[in-house]
Amino acid sequence: MKLTIDQRWDLIDKIAKQTVTFGEYRHTLKDAIGELTIKPFTGIPIAIAVMYAFWSIFSSFAGTLFTDGFMVKLFDGHFLPWMQDIFPGAGGWLYYIIVGDPLANNSFEALGVLTSGFFVAIGVVLPAIFIFYLMLALLEDMGYMPRLAVLIDTVLHRIGLHGYAIVPTILSLGCNVPGVAATRILETKKQRFIMMTLLAIFIPCGAQIGIMEEVIPDTMGWVLLYLITGYFIFGYILNKIVPGKSPEFLIDVPPYRKPMISNLSKKVWGRIVGFFKVALPFVLLGCGIVNVLYLVGFIDWVGNVFSPVFVLWFGVPEATAGPLIAAFLRKDLAVAQLSVIEMTPYQMISAVVLVSIYFPCVATFAMMIKEGVKEMLGALAVLFVVVFLYGGLIHLIGILLGVA
């Protein structure tokens, strides 16, 4: 059947009469609250409150309740002594790799594949990742994330990005791998390069944050402050020197909605499974490889060779060479290793910042290669310069404050 133009318009009118309600639209309370969360003057305090809730619930749930409350007791009081008893050949090289130090009385110090490896993965990272992804899914499904993107757009434009860059940034706080994948939502090569570089250098993953919460709870705030400051300083510099465009963005801000439990559980489950498929093998493998490197004397050798850089330039002990190598495999593991090295509080802050900004973990590295070898090489070049400059700057700040 072919309709004339007039018939088409008639049909449109009929459908419109049946489906469209005409009248004056009155703002609801939900609309008004939605507007408050977007306007900078009111939206920024709300965003600060949301972030506060995020971290407060994260540390209470993962740190106080699960890791300190139950997991430390389970692993240090039962699992570690049991492994030390049943595994044959105490003092041998295989024992050292699998169980770790036979005299260790806690899972952080043992550094064995099946002791520290399992403790880090199950005792620390699992509760941290679970609560992180649950809260992220809640914010996404409620409709807060697009509002946060609008709110932070102006700030992120200063570093060559736009509001949507908040998505890969926050995803990276869970795990850098999906964060790097999410850089695809940015339009230009310049934006993707800046984002990928900043994620690889300055955004600690959930596992690392979980470990920091456990081993350096008092100074963790300073570490995060250094990382956030570095994110913006080097983002600003990259925006100035990297050629290319940083276009504006248009975003549809949906109304606030009640999250559905089925959606939340699917999202959280999918992300946790994905994370563990990538992370667990690397945690265990990381423990094993680092132990082998210690056994063959490689880490002592690296420590000796780079001693002047570590001690004089970065202001951290020579012994941090081991954790820095381990950081390539797993950064959470590296922070756990740092916790057993004798250091001043400021040296600990510097060392943890170095572990964070140093080479991305191998899983992120693999993801970066997938996104483009040229971009990855560029990001690595930036990374080496940043580590050297920022590491030295943090040491200098410590010297000026008289705490280094």
Partner: protein, 146 residues
């Protein structure tokens, strides 16, 4: 009309007290100490004090900026937002209490004793927890509007 005035006065007083608590939170923490008076306690940690204090202060300012022309939906939404900020802060503090009350402590049993469990919820409380019941009054006005 009278009820509207009562509501405006109520939220003005709540706004002033909330703002004062927020400023106290920040000042006590900046002074690197903690403060306790009766059932009120301001803990001295940087995370809770400065960051949390700023949120309580913002809640107070939301209340104060919303009291004029209270009937307007945009003004009323500021009052509601003030309460939401208090709920966020108090919710976090109460959640922290819950997570502390369940495990039995470093050298104790797996789970807390009943006395220990109940003891965790005893006063003193943070400013946001004390403000929580007063902030719930806004729920009445939300339903009244509907």
């Amino acid at each position: 009309m009278a009820e509207r005035s009562i509501a405006a006065i109520y939220f003005a007083i709540l706004g002033i007290i909330t703002t004062a608590f927020g400023i106290a939170d920040i000042l006590v923490t900046m002074g690197a100490g903690s403060f306790a008076f009766g059932i009120l306690e301001i803990p001295g940690d940087l995370f809770r004090g400065v960051w949390g204090g700023f949120i309580v202060l913002s809640a107070g300012l939301f209340y104060l900026s919303g009291i004029r022309n209270f009937e307007d939906i945009h003004q009323f939404s500021k009052i509601v937002m003030g309460s939401i900020l208090i709920w966020i802060m108090a919710g976090c503090d109460i959640f922290a209490m819950i997570t502390e009350s369940i495990p039995g402590g470093e050298d104790g049993p797996w789970f807390n004793t009943l006395n220990g469990f109940i003891g965790t919820y005893a006063p003193p409380y943070t400013p946001a927890v004390l403000l929580l019941p007063f902030s719930l009054v806004v729920v009445y006005y939300i339903y009244k509007r509907k």
